[in-house]
Symmetry: C2
Subunit: 419 residues, 2 copies
């Protein structure tokens, strides 16, 4: 399947993908919904206005002329499938409907470089899981010893905590090094200082489509009806602040300084060919967490770091979404089993996705093993944690036969503390 | 100062208070902003439409004809003071402007009993602090022993965690007993069962007015410009679920089943006469947490419980907001010191407000000391935790000279698990 829109080799955005995002046109107007195709963005607000997206579930001017995807997310899977099918047909090389309407085509397809990308959704609530066994074991081994790296609950439930929604930012937003309370080794009390242990966390996040009513859990089998799609997530973390503050209620200021996400939401339908089985779970989870479906996805992940001295980024880790022990359906079923209600646009992140090998770890804390084996950069710099000016870029893609379904990237540069 | 509107003796809503809320008129129309006065609600949308609230900061139809207080909250203290002054003048017994306009007065003043009250704000983010030394010490003594009830960080920073915004409900909403994972004493693994340890937590919460930009902390001295007002909060908690899930990232499903708040937001201006000094803080907090102002308030608090067998509620605890060790200005300065951004309508709750004496504790966990001394109800029932059908009502007020500035109440009844 090919598009009349040119898609460079290796592009994350071929006609098989069609991720949704929010963008501003270079010629003004308020932010609206678009789809990435090659190096262009297809303006769905415009196509919808012209009636090109009409169908049983979608009507003119309804959900695409908006500054967030929430309304589209709320419509549910039948509408998402209709939109995908319509848009895919419109972009095919052999369909003249848009291809040969020169004036419309030129207005509706805009070079991505000339646009501004925004957060894809208004995020009501943000939850961060802790679903990588390798990550939880690494952190546990560092802080509690190698004999007992996992806490007793970890293999029975997908541990998670509520994160801060207001400080979620789109890729490209700079990240300020924060001040905070830090307990130095051997000290009696904390000092107030800039964090010296700034870190990233390689994660992915799912966006909720239709929600559930308070008191009505989402069964594990119904998860696919409630998950719109996925993005890359960098859960920036100030480890020294975290270590002092987190007992007994969990991380707070060490995480709410900023969380970066990629602008393009890749749908479950686009990811379907890359579904696979996840790690075997033993002990067997309780019945409300058991699903007969495969819920892992073969998504290759990469962490790149570029210091101010380097002229291009270096890959410092390679991981894969399929390593996650707890899957998205289990996360959603668990999150709502208390009756907790989800709303369209809520974001559930996976937690750091570490693989089994040291070069597949998802945070600097693990890659440099708490500073004990600093990461070597190609220009002979070393890092135990991030330095001012460092840019961290996460990227991820599924490798198909001759094409990639990718997520683009989420990138952010560490700026020095503000005086 | 008196109003021409009758205010019964002991009412929480005299002309000195004037709290804001969102209500639906019995004659239809969308939810709008009102002010409680005695047993009536003053319709600010209507008064604004008629030009009665015009002033330098407030213009017709601007912020009151809306289903949340967020737009009014965002305006800031000068606008809040103008509104308070205008409304107080309009309600005075000696001002004929509204009093003698019979048709308008009858339309603008509606019996509260005939209306429906809603959540006062769209809450973007909800944070729950842990600011009562007595509460933290009680819980610490129960779970870690009496020798060392406070963790080392507690006296240095106001511990907090992010809560769930979607499941915040207004007073009167029933609370379903949740299912969840529970580790029974001596068991190897958890069971899936309804919570047997449902609890309440007596808290208060502050609503944010104008926010701050990401990366720009709110200094402790500027806190009053960012705090709109306070409500009562009941942070329902499933203790058995909490005990199993909370390590290492904090409470999650044990709290996100529901959090109830009172519908009327009492402003800092109404509370000003009741400002007082809080507990002495030693060790002295770091400079970013030091304020020269008094930030405690003398707010008397009461917990009532009514079982299905009882014909009226019984008071089971009396506490006071002034007991809190960490105050609101410190909470806000700490929360934003990482650069975390606040938005209008964000809610920051205090954590359980326990006093020094056993009859002033703010949760059943403490009142019944983990089940070891069950609470005796007047009809000879006893409680270690809440039973189905139990109704918990929190109330609070400041005692002035011949009047009360009160919060009304937040109430909720425990319903059995849903099959």
């Amino acid at each position: 399947m090919n598009s009349f829109v040119e898609v460079p080799s290796g592009s994350h955005f071929p006609i098989q993908n069609l991720p949704y995002g929010i963008f501003s046109r270079p010629d003004g107007g308020r932010p609206r919904v678009g789809v990435a195709i090659g190096e262009m963005i297809l303006d769905l607000a415009l196509l919808s206005e012209r009636g090109y997206l009409d169908g049983p579930h979608l009507t003119r001017l309804s959900v695409f002329d908006r500054p967030s995807l929430n309304a589209f997310m709320a419509l549910g899977r039948p509408a998402w499938r209709e939109a995908r099918s319509t848009i895919q047909a419109l972009l095919r090389h052999d369909n003249p409907a848009l291809r040969d309407e020169t004036e419309l085509r030129q207005r509706a397809l805009i070079p991505a470089k000339s646009t501004r990308l925004h957060l894809p959704a208004l995020i009501g609530d943000y939850t961060d899981f802790y679903s990588s066994r390798e990550h939880a074991s690494n952190v546990g081994a560092m802080f509690r010893g190698k004999e007992n790296p996992l806490l007793p609950n970890w293999l029975h439930l997908p541990v998670a905590y509520h994160g801060r929604a207001s400080s979620i930012v789109v890729s490209g937003t700079p990240v300020l090094r924060p001040y905070g309370q830090i307990l130095e080794s051997g000290a009696d009390g904390p000092v107030f200082a800039p964090s010296r242990e700034m870190d990233f966390e390689l994660e992915m996040g799912l966006f909720i489509g239709p929600g559930n009513e308070l008191g009505r859990p989402i069964p594990v089998e119904a998860a696919a009806e409630h998950i719109f799609g996925l993005v890359l997530v960098n859960d920036w973390s100030a480890r020294d602040i975290q270590r002092w503050e987190y007992r007994p209620l969990g991380p707070f200021l060490s995480k709410n300084l900023a969380t970066s996400i990629s602008p393009w939401v890749v749908t479950l339908d686009a990811l379907a060919p890359f579904r696979c089985s996840g790690p075997k779970q033993a002990p067997e989870p309780l019945p409300y967490l058991l699903s007969s479906d495969d819920w892992a996805y073969d998504i290759q992940l990469e962490i790149q770091l570029q210091s101010e001295k380097m002229d291009r980024p270096a890959v410092i880790s390679r991981s894969n979404f399929r390593y996650l022990y707890w899957n998205m359906a289990q996360q959603l079923a668990h999150h709502t089993i208390s009756g907790c209600n989800m709303r369209p646009g809520d974001l559930l992140a996976s937690g750091t996705i570490s693989g089994p090998e040291p070069h597949s770890y998802g945070s600097m804390l693990e890659l440099a093993w708490r500073g004990s084996r600093p990461v070597q950069l190609p220009d002979s710099e070393v890092r135990a944690f991030l330095a001012d000016g460092d840019r961290v870029t996460l990227t991820g893609w599924c490798q198909g036969d001759g094409y990639r379904v990718g997520f683009g990237q989420v990138s952010g540069q560490i700026l020095p503390v503000q005086e």
